[in-house]
Amino acid sequence: MALDPGLVGRSYPPSAVYEVGREKIAEFATALGDPDPAYRDPAAARALGHPDVIAPPTFAIVLSLGAGNVVVEDPDVALDYSRVVHGEQRFTHHRPIRAGDRLVATASIDAVKTIAGNDMLTTRVDLATEDGEPVCTTRSMLVARGTA
């Protein structure tokens, strides 16, 4: 079934606050095999001008995966998840995510397309501090193969 183009622009309520911890950043960096001290040593991060250890550029996926679930669970979004693959991913960093950040994620539907029988859904997640400072915008495009 083709996705309804009328879904574009639909926005979902903001998530609960996610507090970014030093240990979570270090765990994520280790999973990427990345020894960069800016992910583990606050002094090394400060030497680069950051207030605390920062997260790798793709760390925001941890938050956007969770926040994107509201789209997955929306009964109006008829995507066949048994046939879904990750097609495309984009991160726009307004500033690096860092330890101590208290972030709120707001998901919305950015684009809906059907090309060559494949449904494509792009979910946007805006990450901001609980005070409203924009930190990162992620866009994830999922492809449901041969469902349209």
């Binding site: 280790t30 990427l32 960069d36 550029p57 793709t58």
Partner: protein, 141 residues
């Protein structure tokens, strides 16, 4: 580490080639760290049932490893302001100790305003391109 200076790069500047290996153990570690527990990244039976050649790496693990080549080159992971990847071919990870090889090459494709550069990356596994697009905008010092 210090951030690479814009004056030290030009269009055509190449990043050091990065070769890494991804094993099943790496997939389990990434699944835990990222929260992406999709079964196709650790269960051969289910991966084959859905038509895949075997267990495949998380797209975001591939893209995270690719970004590492950029952050190591830039000298400051906070220098990456924009990062965009498009997945074209899964990285199949065999059930052995060697795993899958992943090679990242990159070059400065454009010098932008405000000390920013665009880096275009080529990512291959076993000689095949696994990302049809991978680019980063990096703010240099």
């Amino acid at each position: 580490m210090t951030r690479l200076r814009a004056a030290d790069v030009a269009v055509g500047t190449e990043l050091p080639e990065q070769v890494s290996r991804v094993t099943r153990a790496d997939l389990v570690r990434y699944a835990g760290a990222s929260g992406d527990l999709n079964v196709i990244h650790w269960n051969e039976r289910v991966a084959r049932e859905v038509g895949l050649p075997g267990v495949i790496a998380h797209g975001m693990l591939t893209s995270g490893l690719t970004a590492r080549a950029v952050t190591a080159w830039a000298g400051d992971p906070g220098a990456v302001v924009e990062y965009h990847v498009r997945f074209s071919r899964p990285v199949v990870v065999p059930d052995d100790d060697a795993g899958a090889e992943l090679t990242v090459r990159g070059r400065v494709a454009a010098v932008l305003e405000g000390g920013q550069v665009r880096v275009d990356l080529t990512v291959t596994s076993g000689g095949e391109k696994v990302l049809s697009l991978a680019r980063a905008v990096v703010a240099l010092g």
